[in-house]
């Protein structure tokens, strides 16, 4: 019965072993995010902190399908998971979050500006909509250099209301550039729900208006996300033209550590709503599937969890033991 389920629901090319690997990654993301929150509250981090809890499938079911570092990734300030998936070491990420010299941006970027060009990760971005104009240029460069590579650009539902996003979509549509847009539609932009922020909530139409084809995807389901990403990437590599995925999902926690702490999220959503969405937890769902399939007994699940925690703890220990950036680095890197 489990086998049938695999055939039915899983794309044929993911072996159960590989799938188990993806499950591990999602657990790692969750544990990583939880730990950042604790460390923030301990005062080990500053600035903002935006967690990815609940949205794990959007990166885990896509980024492993890329050819990094040739393919490129851009995303928002909610970027820890993206960095992890691109292969940035948890140590370098955690150190960056703590503003240490060993961070992936030498402590200069922080949570919103993780980056790792060696792995194709061109960075998070603190400006809503900010990565989209950049993706136009990156897509242009990939085509210009006559590669078969793709630029994947993640951004939020709130960003659909930024003018620069529309200018860029239009140019990407006009020049036919190899960009995959992933709209992380987690239903809210800070405290503003999609229905309170747009005159027309079907985001696919907004992409199509600029000549970019797209579709809507359930981002709470690993397989759906995987398949959609696979089709989209194949299509882009074949046609050279951009594609758009409106991925419906949910952030389980507040917008940032600010409204996590103060429960400020209660101003804009109910506990009931949050609990409904939590029932669709992509990790739980994939876990259940793997359990059904017989490859994730409870002990293994527990072991995977412990391993994730160990990786995170190691990253924390590394970061905490790392030095602050030297003071004279203040004036370095202003110019190349």
């Amino acid at each position: 019965m489990a086998k049938t389920a695999v055939k039915e629901k899983s794309p044929s090319d993911i072996g159960l072993d590989t799938l188990l690997g993806h499950y591990k990654t999602m657990v790692l993301i969750r544990r990583f995010e939880e730990s950042t929150y604790r460390k923030f509250r301990e005062g080990k981090m500053g600035g903002y902190l935006h967690r990815y809890d609940g949205q794990e499938a959007l990166v885990t079911a896509l980024i492993p399908q890329l050819e990094l570092p040739g393919d490129k990734i851009l995303c928002t300030y909610r970027d820890h998971a993206h960095a992890l998936l691109c292969g940035t070491s948890p140590r370098a990420i955690m150190a960056e979050l703590m503003g240490r010299a060993t961070g992936c941006a030498l402590g200069k970027g922080g949570s919103m500006h993780l980056i790792d060009p060696d792995n194709g990760f061109l960075g998070g971005d603190g400006i809503v909509g900010g990565p989209v104009p950049i993706s136009l240029g990156v897509g242009w460069a990939l085509k210009y250099k006559n590669t078969k590579n793709v630029c994947v650009c993640y951004f939020g539902d709130g960003a659909m209301n930024q003018g620069g996003v529309h200018e860029s979509f239009n140019m990407v549509g006009l020049y036919k550039l190899p960009v995959l847009y992933i709209l992380e539609n987690n239903q809210y932009a800070m405290g503003t729900s999609v229905s309170r922020s747009t005159g027309q909530p079907d985001f696919v139409k907004k992409a199509e208006a600029h000549g970019i084809a797209g579709e809507r995807v359930d981002g709470m389901d690993f397989f759906t996300m995987w398949d959609a990403a696979k089709r989209a990437l194949a299509r882009i590599r074949e046609t050279g033209e951009a594609y758009f995925l409106q991925v419906d999902c949910y952030r389980f926690v507040g917008h940032g550590v600010g409204d996590d702490n103060t429960q400020g999220w209660k101003f804009y959503r109910t506990e009931g709503e949050v609990h409904e969405w939590m029932k669709k937890d992509p990790i739980v769902k994939l876990g259940a599937y793997l359990k059904d399939a017989g490859v994730l007994p409870d002990e293994l699940a527990e072991k995977i969890d412990q391993e994730a925690i160990a990786v995170v703890d190691d990253a924390v220990a590394f970061a905490e033991a790392s030095p602050e950036p030297p003071l004279d680095s203040l004036y370095e890197n202003v110019y190349s």
Binding site: G47, A105, G109, G110, H113, N161, G191, R196, V334
Partner: protein, 325 residues
Amino acid sequence: MAVMRYSEALRLAMTEEMERDDSVFICGEEVGQYQGTYRVTEGMLSKFGPRRVVDTPISEIGIAGMATGAAMAGLRPIAEFMTWSFALEAMDALVNHAAKITYMSGGRISCPVVFRGPAGVGTQLSAQHSQSLESWFAHTPGFKVVLPSTPEDAKGLLKTAIRDPNPVIFMENAGIYGQRGEVPEDTDFMIPFGQAAVRTEGSDITLISYSNMVLKCLKAAEALEKDGIHCEVIDLRTLVPLDMDTVVKSIQKTHRAVVAHEEWKNVGFGAELASRIYEQAFDYMDAPIERVGGADVPMPYAKNLERAAIPTDLDIIAAVKRALA
């Protein structure tokens, strides 16, 4: 008089003006249901309703255009930028529209709009969220530019801004939203633009500043007082219009000056201020004017680097000592 926070004084000013004049409304990201990113507009949605407290999408051009257009059509909008850094998105609407429509129309259109929101640094928000653009706006004719440093000024200047028939750039400082102080309860209490405040009198040197930096100047002045150095601390309050009279009068007494602000030093407002002082009081100057400003780098994230990038009372003290050397 009541004691309240800087942010509460802002809310009081807006509330009073909205009660007085139906044409005043506020729009911006998260000003309503979310109760304001920094809680400045807390409670205002339930008090005034969604007609007058308007949550917007994340569309800074739209926000600036909405406010400017509504002002041109006879309303008195208050547009909140979640932080001033995001006003970068809306520069065309601000500079090429709001600031110029009165002039371009030969005075036939007024544009009574307030653009307000927090600037300020110090909580590791890193490079993209740490702009303080007052020198850009002061450079642009057509704007008035206001930066209050106390709760009392926050109220008095914001009320003046709302009643002013021109576009006003009103920059708050997130670092002092929590600062408490006495605030007049009189609903007609207003502070006129273009009147600097002498915060402390002194005879040895003049410290000229605005916004948060005034508090650092006062701290420096207190410390220097113990060394027998008497600083006069001037809070400009508005950069446009600029009260040079108060500044020059002070310089004629002290013959020395430090100008200080948190924003980048290079081509910052301090340069203008220093130039004007020399132009108007050259013969009184006994030493070069010292400028204190933010490090000319994009704001770094790491706590220690950020601390090094932001000017402090100690930097002011050092500048004073150089000027007196």
